[in-house]
């Protein structure tokens, strides 16, 4: 997240002066006289290989909460004053930026929803795939999210770097919920059911149903690992303040909550890859 490109940040180690307004979009009125969707997309490098991380979910998070500059032991999230949107310099532009990036996120999420509607091009092409290829795609996503992305990129990296902000939602300190929700999304596929926001349940054929046809013992193993994963991420979620939790952990000790969850998520990733192999014969790489 390139927040110093979006708005003012606290005087850092390098000592960027708060009055130096040249280096961020909200306060550089000369360089960016009008803020528009297209302008912010252009600065972020939208649709190109390399980008400034200046739009998206975490940009919204930063604009709402602000930088978390307190010690993790205080268990506080970012403390952005509401006056940033009322009386402070460029308050109006800050509000514009927030509204624009929110609208962009809504557009992007909507485009995904649209693509999965009956008759939409992605849904149609996905349904036209050979079932082995379609199953491999589903399980590749689940396996990589479990082992490579969540256990590796999101949790191990944060523990190893011992950096309170090397986590998903560093401004709002909501990372414990991100982890839980990420894990839940994998579990939904394994068990073939999920609860919607209105509390109703949607269910269908699960991965376990299919796997059981091929190997009952592997289905049982995956089922118990999946339960283990959810228990462990629930512990993390209940404790809250992930930046505080990582401080007492090291990556070579799997007995504490975060690294214990890492171990189970890695195991689940490997078992999802194995499930794919058993069902389709295709190799899935759960790591990267």
């Amino acid at each position: 997240m390139d927040e110093a490109l979006i708005d003012y940040v606290t005087n850092g180690t390098g000592g960027q002066d708060l009055s130096d307004n040249r280096q961020n979009i909200i306060n550089n009125v000369t360089e960016y006289p009008t803020l528009t969707k297209d302008k912010l997309k252009e600065i972020s490098g939208y649709n190109s290989n390399e980008s400034n991380v200046s739009i998206g979910y975490h940009a919204i998070e930063f604009l709402l909460w602000g930088q978390d500059n307190t010690e993790p032991s205080l268990k506080l999230n970012g403390q952005r004053p509401f006056t940033d949107y009322t009386t402070e310099t460029n308050a109006t532009r800050r509000g514009q930026y927030l509204k624009i990036v929110t609208a962009l996120l809504v557009e992007d999420v909507k485009s995904v929803v649209e693509q999965w509607k009956p008759g939409a091009s992605y849904r149609s092409s996905f349904l036209a795939l050979h079932s082995d290829i379609a199953i491999t795609k589903i399980l590749t996503g689940a396996a990589k999210l479990s082992k490579g992305e969540l256990a590796g990129e999101r949790m191990v990296v944060a523990v190893e770097n011992q950096n309170q902000e090397d986590e998903q939602s560093c401004f709002s300190d909501n990372t414990h919920r991100d982890i839980y929700s990420n894990a839940q999304s994998i579990n939904n596929i394994i068990n073939g059911s999920y609860k919607t926001t209105d509390g109703s349940s949607i269910s269908g054929i699960s991965l376990l149903d299919v796997l059981r046809l091929v190997s009952a013992s592997d289905a049982n193993t995956l089922s118990s690992t999946a339960t283990e994963v959810m228990n462990k991420v629930e512990t993390i979620s209940n404790a809250g303040h992930f930046d505080h939790q990582i401080m007492t952990e090291t990556i070579d000790n799997f007995n504490n909550p975060v690294m214990s969850a890492v171990k189970s998520l890695r195991k689940q990733g490997d078992e999802l890859a194995k499930a794919g192999k058993l069902i389709t014969g295709e190799t899935i790489d759960p790591s990267v």
Partner: protein, 494 residues
């Protein structure tokens, strides 16, 4: 020079040449090969009677480019794979290094203190920008001011204090074509192509595109007279195994003054090691201008991304770039030793993908042609890593097939950058390892090759060879279409 294929005392059973099939041998190392021979001959042509050329048959283990550390995972992530068997702790740090490699660094200060300090001037925001999926970068295209993977080295005539390229006043030794917000970039590079036409012996014609570079929009004085060397990012597979080769094994192939008269020299570059503070054998980079993987990584952090390390602690802001000098930094150094170490674990642990189609007849015929044309005079097939690579002992004593001697060769005036780099002259380049080359298309969705990506495919890369490789190239041009296809099939199987 000595025969490359057998010069490294490898446990390889065969040697190029003819071998009587009916000969009963008791050499155990040949036994399984003979079985393989019988199987192949049993189901193939009946024309071969008494003799079969050993180099047109599959050799056991030849598909294992990185020996026992070869990855069998192919597809778009073929270059992303750790070597098999990493201990759990190292495997976890591999993820940490992967994250440092893949994610964008941001300008300082930022909440992500582990990842801030980009620039102030830079070519790329992440290692993965130029080595996408650990693969190969893109060349510059016409009417495009930057690419994902291209940069321009510059220097003046003469050398610096360490015997390396002499920095250009106000700029240094590399053009940073981007800057953080309100920091000026140094200059931009433009490219145009001139088409060169040629012909194979069979009459088929081909076209090569010769790049012509122009430096534009210089911010700190003219650069029209400086020495230049365009580069694209290479795939970063198997680097730990190259790092683990012994100096002696690489030097064994040198023949700087061509005393064996085969037209192939093989020259070692000696370059400055900024950790040991002495001149050492170079083995990484397009001109073998980096002695170790760690220094290669630190140099890329510094030159390409503007990030300081304990090896290169100084900000890359030559005077008079005041805005650059005065900009905030991301710590001293910006990449901590711990992060550098994790990146080293990552970079050194990247495997090499297993070969494909290695038992197909056209591939096996191509392999024989590769040797007949003497491509392997420089593209050395086999090495064994040393028995003392303390950083990662898993990489010790591994038989690898990099298809490179890691030495410098005169490649002729058409490929020359005319910019000396330590002992490498303007005509000399390091032999590129060919392992993994056939997977670039799937990983990076392009097939641009050579130091600046001018070759659009493997055949064009061959046709650009000159100098010491002129004779091999001409032998290639004399082949029939079918033979050329077989040779390309072999290289694509690597």
């Amino acid at each position: 020079m000595t025969s490359n294929y057998t010069s490294n005392s490898q446990p390889v059973c065969t040697k190029a040449g003819w071998f009587p099939l009916f000969l009963k041998t008791t050499m155990t190392c040949l036994l399984s090969l003979c079985i393989a021979l019988f199987i192949i001959t049993a189901c193939s042509s009946k024309e071969e009677t008494d003799y079969i050329a050993l180099d047109t048959v599959y050799e056991i283990g030849e598909e294992m480019s990185a020996g026992r550390l070869t990855t069998s995972i192919l597809g778009a992530n073929a270059f992303d794979q750790p070597v098999p068997g990493l201990p759990t702790n190292t495997d976890l740090l591999f993820f940490v290094g992967n994250s440092l490699f893949r994610q964008n660094w941001v300008s300082s200060p930022a909440s992500t203190t582990a990842r801030d300090g980009l620039g102030p001037t830079f070519n790329a925001r992440a290692c993965s920008a130029c080595h996408n999926k650990d693969g190969r970068g893109l060349p510059l295209e016409q009417n495009q001011e930057f690419s994902a993977g291209f940069l321009m080295r510059i220097s003046e005539s003469g050398t610096n204090d360490f015997g390396g390229p002499k920095p250009v006043a106000n700029y240094g030794t590399q053009l940073q074509d981007r800057g953080n917000l309100s920091i000026p970039f140094e200059a931009k590079v433009n490219i145009t192509y001139e088409i060169i036409k040629g012909q194979f012996k069979d009459g088929e014609t081909y076209e090569l595109r010769k790049p012509i570079y122009t430096i534009t929009r210089e911010q700190f004085g003219s650069l029209q007279q400086v020495l230049t060397s365009p580069r694209v990012g290479q795939q970063v597979i198997g680097l730990g195994l190259i790092d683990a080769l012994s100096k002696e094994d690489i030097l064994a192939n040198t023949d700087e003054f061509d005393s064996d008269g085969d037209g192939i020299s093989g020259k070692a570059n000696y370059v400055w090691n900024h950790t040991t503070n002495q001149s050492e054998l170079g083995r990484f980079g397009w001109k073998s201008n980096q002695p170790t993987l760690r220094q290669q990584v630190a140099d890329a952090f510094n030159g390409d991304m503007g990030l300081t390390t304990s090896i290169f602690p100084d900000k890359n802001c030559p005077s008079p770039q005041l805005d650059c000098l005065n900009a905030p930094n991301g710590g001293s150094p910006e990449v901590t030793d711990k992060s550098l170490n994790n990146l080293m674990i990552y970079a050194s642990s990247l495997s090499v993908p297993i070969r494909r189609n290695y038992e197909d007849q056209n591939v096996l015929k191509g392999k024989k042609l590769f040797r007949d044309l003497k491509c392997n005079s420089c593209h050395t097939e086999v090495f064994t890593t040393s028995n003392n690579y303390d950083f990662n002992t898993l990489l010790e004593n591994v038989t690898i097939r990099p298809f490179s001697d890691f030495l410098l060769h005169d490649m002729g005036s058409d490929l020359a950058d005319n910019r000396p780099d330590f002992l490498a002259t303007g005509n000399e380049w390091r032999t590129q390892p060919l392992w993994g080359i056939g997977m670039i298309k799937e990983v990076n969705r392009h097939t641009f090759l050579l130091h600046d990506g001018r070759a659009r495919n493997i055949e064009e890369a061959i046709l650009w060879h000159g100098g010491e490789a002129e004779a091999s190239k001409n032998r290639y041009k004399n082949l029939t279409k079918k033979e050329r296809q077989n040779l390309l099939a072999f290289i694509n199987s690597l």
